[in-house]
């Protein structure tokens, strides 16, 4: 039940975030680079949104993977291990992703590029 609810709630969140993401980031398709991303992410509000997006997509993706795998009968006995692995993956993903988002700072490196 919990997985199911997580899956639906994150899905609803994703509808919003993903649409936003596609419209803002990827359209119109043009050359994408650090600076363009940075322009947007300079605003902490956008950072927050991206982090929320990241969390919901991770929840959704990992819950989804869990659902897909536990549907297979042979995996059922291993579901605790599987859940553990996925949670760890999730935490790594979340930390790494947050770190990524936060690293879009206008730091020295950027000044060097331009």
């Amino acid at each position: 039940m919990r997985i199911f609810i997580i899956q639906r709630l994150s899905a609803i969140a994703l509808v919003v975030f993903l649409s936003l993401h596609m419209i803002v980031v990827h359209y119109p398709p043009g050359h994408l680079d650090f600076s363009r991303v940075l322009e947007r992410l300079a605003d902490p509000f956008w950072k927050a949104i991206d982090i929320a997006f990241l969390f919901s997509v991770l929840l959704h993706a990992l819950a989804g993977t869990y659902a897909v795998l536990t549907d297979i009968e042979r995996v059922t006995p291993l579901k605790r291990i599987l859940a553990g692995v996925l949670v760890v993956l999730g935490i790594i993903g979340a930390v790494y992703g947050t770190y990524t988002v936060l690293s879009f700072q206008p730091p020295a490196s950027m000044l060097i590029v331009h």
Binding site: P29, L32, S35, V68, S103, V113
Partner: protein
């Protein structure tokens, strides 16, 4: 496997879901380059800006769209008593995602052609 529209929708949803998870991994790795500085980031991103991969991105777009609309369809079924319209709902989700894939695909193709 028992063949039916139900199965097609289920299979596509699963398949696209898993493809998206894999993509998510790759995507995070690419963006993750930002932690190593703008240069690495741009370099890694550059790979994905190649025309071939841009065309492949259409498939990705199709996957996201289908998976998303199919997901919305399911959520509608959960909260409204609409099982009688199950076939129409599936066709609708499929049609909308196909349409949007085309709409969204054109700029991608143009872009790919442009950079060629």
């Amino acid at each position: 496997m028992y063949k039916s529209t139900g199965f097609i929708s289920f299979f596509l949803r699963r398949f696209t879901g898993l493809v998206l998870v894999l993509y998510l991994g790759v995507h995070m790795w690419v963006i993750g380059a930002a932690t190593k500085g703008a240069e690495t980031f741009n370099a890694r991103l550059e790979v994905f800006e190649s025309p071939v991969l841009k065309i492949l991105e259409i498939l990705l777009l199709a996957a996201v769209l289908y998976h998303g609309f199919d997901g919305i369809r399911l959520i509608i079924v959960h909260y409204f008593d609409v099982t009688d319209y199950r076939k129409s709902l599936f066709y609708a989700a499929f049609a909308i995602s196909a349409l949007l894939t085309i709409v969204g695909g054109i700029p991608l193709v143009l872009y790919a052609l442009g950079t060629l």
